[in-house]
């Protein structure tokens, strides 16, 4: 029972037809940099930086099924506001988070960044990208790949994430072990 504000209307499920907004090179570049910063925060395990990229009412959402249009009242793999994100962060950093007692690392590559909607007045952006994440954990490699949809708001500090939707192509598959951090 999350107490979070309803997310912005979605650009649609992951397989919705692509829209391409006419945006300046500056906007495109700023959006891409935000995605790269986010991927870097994950790969360097700087969890506070990852959370700080979200707006105060921002939500990180990984649907259970590709066709879902909201995580509100629906099963999700992740559906976290910043408070839930902070539980996850504090767990990861706890000295007795036992499953963290083995080396693990990830590498995110983010590409195909397309701004789908751009509200010139507010600066809000909806964009779509593709990612590939490789994880190495205790001698085993796993791959996760799929699409990100980011809804961004413009603030004095630059873009912040209002909603991030993560659809993994292998999201419905059996998980060999689980996902301890955001993807």
């Amino acid at each position: 029972m999350l107490t979070i504000a309803p997310p912005l209307p979605l650009a649609g499920p992951a397989d919705a037809p692509l829209a391409i907004a006419a945006v300046s090179g500056d906007v495109q570049r700023a959006v891409e940099l935000l995605l790269y910063r986010q991927a870097d925060a994950l790969d360097t395990k700087r969890w506070p930086d990852f959370i700080d990229l979200f707006a105060p009412d921002g939500v990180y959402w990984m649907p259970a099924l590709p066709g879902q249009t909201t995580g509100d009242g629906e099963p999700s793999i992740f559906y976290e506001d910043r408070d839930l994100m902070r539980i996850r962060m504090k767990r990861l950093g706890h000295p007795r988070a036992w499953s963290q007692k083995t080396e693990w690392a990830t590498n995110h590559v983010v590409s195909n960044v397309i701004v789908e909607r751009h509200d010139a007045a507010s600066g809000a952006v909806a964009c779509r990208a593709r990612f590939h994440m490789m994880e190495f954990r205790r001698d085993a490699v796993r791959h996760f790949a799929g699409s990100y949809i980011h809804h961004l708001v413009r603030t004095a500090d630059g873009y912040r994430i209002k909603l991030q939707r993560v659809d993994m192509v292998n999201g419905e598959g059996p998980y060999e072990y689980v996902l301890q951090a955001w993807v």
């Binding site: 099963p75 999700s76 539980i87 706890h94 998980y175 301890q180």
Partner: protein, 436 residues
């Protein structure tokens, strides 16, 4: 080594079990044959196959099976194998056929009860022993199928106890799940999270009713959730109800000892007394009012005050009735086990009541779990530890001899008693040495 009955019996003692029971592939093969091919295995909920033609695939023991709904509304459990040349009939996990199941190899067609509908090139069988429409043209059915309150089970054994006799008092798992619905039944949420543990199947069961591990294994999550819960309370006056699912792990060990495990014949075991989920917020009071309209005051209190956290239906099922969640255990290999995690809606209850338990499904039972992450890590380490020559036995002596015997049922006086393990391995020995 070759395991005869005596060797198998020697694996389990009243206070310890030999490590090979967890790690030896030969024993795993015998378990498949003598346990998983005999017991009632949970196949799925009938609401997974709502209309005729719907199917859902499932593994029972080693066997690929299909749960189908036939034209007459009957649910069937079939071997997923074409009687012609053995091709799997269904290649995806679930779906719906239009009029018949068609084999993708030579277009043999079957009704959803497994009976043959059409066999192409029929003339080709003139003068052969194949009787068109005869038994050799039927998709083989699971020998026994039973449905209790919508929960479908199958057994690969031709004979044995009925489902209800087999469940015994563990039947309460399904009664509690359904009775908590104002309409008396549940409906599946058609999503199945699947997580593979890199360890023997038994570690899952050993852990489910082990209340002593909770404060140790889940300390990090319990502490993190408690910290944030306190902050949110300070900021907003109250914290979301479902934070408690995580913060409960900070309860002191003494509190866990006040819980009870009730250990029934057949290895079925129940954990009582954890997280009495009867909050008094407006949503819950509204639900209780709907329950009272349906069942009356006394019966409603009886249903909702039954404080069961887990019911283990040995060997492959764990049910959490107050949270409407179920985990099915499918052993894949001696060191590999699939868990399927399901959630159900209480029919006649509000959406808000469904949402109350959804947090548990998302935060504890989904692939992003902050709880099972540390359990699965323990299972893997346990399996690797038991594969070592550093010792031969697994000890389960805690509070041995101090549980309360009530006929064939053993109730613990201390929650941290290792009675559930002793109970599982009594059942294990019975299955593994019976009739041989």
């Amino acid at each position: 080594m070759t395991y005869g009955v005596n060797e198998l019996r020697a694996m389990v003692e009243h206070d310890r079990v030999h490590r090979r029971v967890y790690t030896d592939p030969e024993i795993f093969e015998i378990e498949m044959e003598r346990i998983f091919n005999r017991v009632w295995t949970y196949v799925g909920h009938e609401s997974q196959v709502k209309k005729p033609g719907d199917y859902w695939t499932v593994q029972i023991g080693r066997q690929p099976m299909i749960m189908t709904r036939h034209d007459d509304g009957q649910v069937h459990v079939l071997y997923n194998r074409c009687p012609h040349r053995g091709n799997l009939l269904i290649g995806d996990r679930h779906g719906s056929v239009d009029k018949s199941i068609i084999c993708s190899y030579h277009a043999w067609q079957f009704n959803c009860d497994g009976s043959p509908k059409a066999i192409p090139l029929a003339k080709g069988y003139d003068g052969t022993t194949l009787e068109l429409g005869g038994p050799a043209c039927h998709v083989k059915r699971a020998p026994r199928v039973a449905n209790y309150r919508g929960f479908v089970f199958a057994s690969l054994a031709d004979s044995g106890p009925s489902l209800l006799d087999w469940l015994g008092d563990a039947k309460i798992a399904f009664d509690q799940m359904c009775d908590r619905a104002p309409d008396g039944e549940v409906e599946v949420v058609p999503i199945c999270f699947r997580v593979v543990q890199q360890s023997n199947w038994k570690f899952f069961l050993d852990n489910q009713l082990d209340v002593a591990h909770a404060v140790v294994t889940h300390e990090s999550t319990g502490r993190a959730a408690t910290d944030v819960q306190d902050e949110v309370k300070g900021r907003e006056g109250s914290a979301p109800f479902d934070y408690h699912f995580l913060s409960a792990f900070t309860m002191p060990l003494g509190t866990w000892d006040k819980m009870t495990t009730v250990n029934h014949p057949g290895g079925h075991s129940i954990l009582e007394g954890y997280m009495r989920l009867r909050p008094q917020d407006p949503v819950s009071l509204d639900y209780e009012a709907a329950m009272k309209r349906r069942y009356g005051e006394a019966r409603t209190n009886q249903i909702l005050d039954t404080n069961i956290h887990h019911v283990i239906c040995y060997p492959g099922l764990s049910i959490q009735p107050p949270l409407q969640q179920l985990r099915a255990i499918r052993p894949l290999a001696v060191d590999k086990t699939l868990t399927e995690l399901w959630h159900f809606r209480l029919k006649g209850a509000s959406d808000a009541i469904y949402r109350r338990a959804l947090g548990y499904y998302n935060m504890v039972n989904s692939p992003s779990t902050m709880v099972n992450a540390d359990d699965l890590w323990n299972f893997r380490k346990s399996h690797e530890g038991l594969a070592s020559d550093g010792g031969e036995w697994v000890n389960y002596q805690r509070y041995l001899g101090q549980d309360e015997e009530q006929g064939r049922v053993l109730r613990t006086r201390m929650g941290t008693s290792e009675a559930p393990l002793r109970n599982y391995f009594t059942a294990w020995t019975d299955y593994m040495t019976a009739g041989n």
